[in-house]
Assembly symmetry: D2
Homo-oligomer: 329 residues x 4
């Protein structure tokens, strides 16, 4: 009897708690930018003219490394949610133009001037690409508290679009996890831990620094030309290792040679992509995926100037880029 | 009387000549590569590890320049032959995902993890981009004699596709023609001559070198946000000035801040895009268009390391790139 | 002093009133369906097996009329809000397939079996098409009160999508307004009034009946092959004439041979497309646009069986259809 | 010795024979139209005003049958050669329009007028569709001898495009092969023979007539909502049964409820799609695929007026259509 008021209070409390969004229960919410309320690029603010000049001044010269994959019909891509595959088609061919005459130039001109044009369509997260901070949020808000209901239009976000990303010129570090374990490729679904990373860095005799572009190698890129093999249950980064890379090691960008950086299924029950939401929404750290690290690995180049710039697709949540690595002295 | 046989012979000869394809009459045909029968990249062969190291070693540090424009619905693009406009659309929005639930995750998960994804479609010659050597040929063949009937498929060419272009790291030179004439912008349809170029270089106190990425400024980029104004009858490069830039001055790549490099209508009756066919098919010199030179101009930076790499769209005749310029010491 | 409470109340009231959405001020809001809370097709409920049997039984036989336009690159379409143009491209050509060999069949097979395939993309309101009831709503809700926030996903609406439209088999009536005025085409921007309609019906000696597919002819279709001319400031239906057609005359569907049924600018300050919101959201009456009435007009066929069915694009707000008209006895 | 000339002649002959295209060796080549050298629609010429009037006059009234499937992301489609999947996306949503304001109307207007627009892209052979006669040819030529090199442009064929198909109004006949065998669905890869067809017609007490739209039911449509199941190794029509349907029974169009009409692998070594090339190129008989026959089957309606018209996609090799069946008396 006397218990009833207490019981009621407890019920009310439990009801309240159960109604809390999962993120709050776990204390997860979009980060507030230390770079101010208008910040849309997060940790890319770590780059300064000085940091760029510093890394550029250390370029060794000689060989450079192309870190990008090719785009082709049938290439691997994220398809679980019904996103578009990569498509390329010809809008003009030398022989077709003679038949179509789309500019009313006549047969002779079209036979003489042999015109080829193509068009492409793609999901923005395709091939070597970088995610903007609006790609994943928590509870309707992205990094720095921008709300979807205020900024997410039908042709991109009004804030935090990839066009705000400056050219990325920073120290890059390859963490060759596969090689450090003496493996050609990490096993299917393998989740890279903090100690895996620390061990690889120890072997490579490299220390991470604040502002680094950290690129993890699982070896999966060796299957890039076989889309099914490439996409199937890839190894990836664990949630706690992601936390280590940013909060302890100071990474500006985290990337890998696999499809989606993280491994599945998720380590958090309330979040199917916790590494994405952690990096993008909580930390403001962009993610690079499908980066080709094979040649760096094979030459054991662990430290380099990373120079790469995403296409400025206004409002977009990601864009392709073709980065180049220049070994440092 | 005695004239008759001669007259007949002359008639026959004239008939023969008039039946020759225009290109042969003018002696224009695809160039044979000095880099061998397999060459697909033409003058990009001028880049070597040494040339790259040389330009990189001269980077001043400090400010860098983003030479790329933004992609957005309504942006300027070549539309005369019915090519696709730029499109971006959302495949996932935070609120739409709650309604669609495309991965069968349930309302709670979709409300907590706020997913944004976009897709794009575009003509390959859109925004800041570089043309591959298969973009224009003469009489059915492109640079180095590759024939459309042998190599031009429905999803790109089997040779000379843009994916073969290496990262472009070379000395870049801005030729600010508009500024050299004391103009905000060259007039509509103005055709840049060899002497215009020589005069601008004289004023800038810069000499061109073999292997340069030569970028011409007409000032038209100031109208980029007004597509109609940007596209209407742009100033551009003359045929003879193009010949000067490659054959005399040694340019590796020729680019400009306008839509199509050259000015229209064509100077050659037999060819509606003679600067394109000359550079791409005859000389193997890639073309960059829609490059944003405003900031370089305003800072009077005429010499810089040009670092930029087109997306590797397999088989494509062009690809977007986002180049960066680094002033040299 | 004593005025203050009254003043406060008045202020509060004025504030309230000024905050009312414009539609409420004008008394405009989505209609509540007389066919029940689940109704998604509005006035199409007027069709029954009996109504269909009745019209089919009256078909005269002999000539039938194709009411559809062709789809081609450069065709007229609504572009004011940046919607996609019609595109068609080849995914396989007989000659390209030999080069690409996309199914690994070899040259001999590909030369023997000559494969052609094409793909298309389009805005759903393109060519001869019919609007679903979710195309336009008022204050966030469509016909029958369905709210965008509950049902509008990233790949269509969960309710009222065009796939719910049954095959349309009903009496069709051509109202040849242009002909009734002795004109080849109504003038630019001309707004068809109720009396224009009544006069045309009088001349045609036709009475409208409940459940009719009413098709208005402006004559604009004669410019269909000239997209610029077709799209420029078309004549169209006035708001009050639309009310007459549905509320007095009983039309089930209202259509016309122009781009957007109504004329612009709008007659209502608060609504830029009042004929659309009236028909779709208030009355549940689908709209057909770009219907080709030229041949019916020229043969003076004013009454016919209209048989046409939109593609069942799940969730879509419109779909193309190719209707046929069969004169009645 | 004396053998040598003979041997040489024989060798030359054998060389010649081996160089013959496979089609000629088998005597297969595109048909010459009995309807004249300009004919682009083949057996659709069997329709006349009289044949249409005849079938329309026999319509029973009452229930009609929708033979079309829905289009949705994830729907079954032919993907073996890298063709585009069906896509639908929103170009305008009620909430997104408020954020984007693509027509510069302001927040109040966009909140009041709730605008939804979508766009789609698809391979033309998707959903319920009909193939044009240019879809498959033999040795570079299609029905009636039109050559790809003369007519196949980059945006469709200049001849035999689907826009030439008139509205299809003809007697339709369901041949319910699955039901005639007492099966829910024909087994995977089952090849329907001539005697299967004859037995089904005997059970149904129906005779085929010249000009019929013949629709075969395998039962596979019951798996339509499960794309993987629907697409996997479907049952289909055999080459010899196809010959029977056209040459003996007089079919104008042949269709089925499966993905590609025929069963795979092919019965002819030289042709991977012999039923397609036979019907389209040799006989000028259009093919309908993915037609939904479930309701007709369940009501045992075997004879009906078939009314359906493909979208007029200029130059295209196929187009979607949404046919309706009306039982005959």
């Amino acid at each position: 009897m006397t218990m009833q008021p207490l019981f009621r209070a407890l019920s009310a409390f439990l009801l309240l708690v159960s109604a809390l969004p999962a993120a709050m229960a776990e204390g997860r919410q979009p980060g507030v930018s230390p770079w101010g309320p208008d910040d849309e690029i997060g940790r890319l603010n770590l780059m300064t003219d000085e940091s760029r000049a510093n890394v550029l001044s250390r370029i060794l010269g000689g060989k450079s490394y192309d870190l990008s994959v090719e785009y082709y019909i049938g290439m691997p891509s994220w398809q679980a949610a019904g996103d578009p595959h990569y498509r390329i088609w010809m809008t003009h061919t030398p022989e077709g133009t003679v038949i179509d005459d789309p500019m009313n130039l006549g047969v002779t001109m079209n036979q003489h001037v042999s015109y080829t044009g193509a068009a492409v369509s793609m999901y923005t997260h395709m091939g070597t690409h970088i995610d903007a901070l609006n790609h994943f949020g928590l509870d309707g808000k992205i990094w720095n508290g921008f709300a979807a209901k205020d900024y997410a239009g039908d042709r991109g976000w009004r804030v935090a679009g990839i066009e705000n990303f400056p050219p990325i010129i920073a120290r890059g570090v390859l963490i060759d996890v596969a090689a450090s374990k003496g493996k050609r490729m990490l096993p299917d679904g393998y989740r890279i831990s903090r100690s895996d990373i620390e061990e690889a860095l120890r072997q490579q005799q490299i220390k991470l620094q604040t502002g680094d572009v950290v690129l993890l190698r699982t070896g999966r890129m060796q299957d890039y030309d076989n889309a099914k093999a490439y996409m199937r249950n890839p190894p990836g980064l664990s949630y706690h290792a992601a936390k280590f890379l940013v909060e302890t090691a100071g990474a500006m960008i985290v990337g890998a040679d696999n499809l989606s950086l993280e491994a599945f299924p998720s380590e958090l029950e309330s979040d199917y992509v916790p590494v994405h939401t952690y990096l993008l929404a909580e930390q403001g750290a962009p993610i690079i995926e499908l980066v080709n690290l094979e040649e760096l690995s094979s030459d054991q180049v662990y430290e380099f100037a990373f120079i790469g710039s995403p296409l400025k697709l206004r409002g977009a949540d990601a864009a392709p880029l073709r980065p180049t690595a220049f070994p440092l002295r």
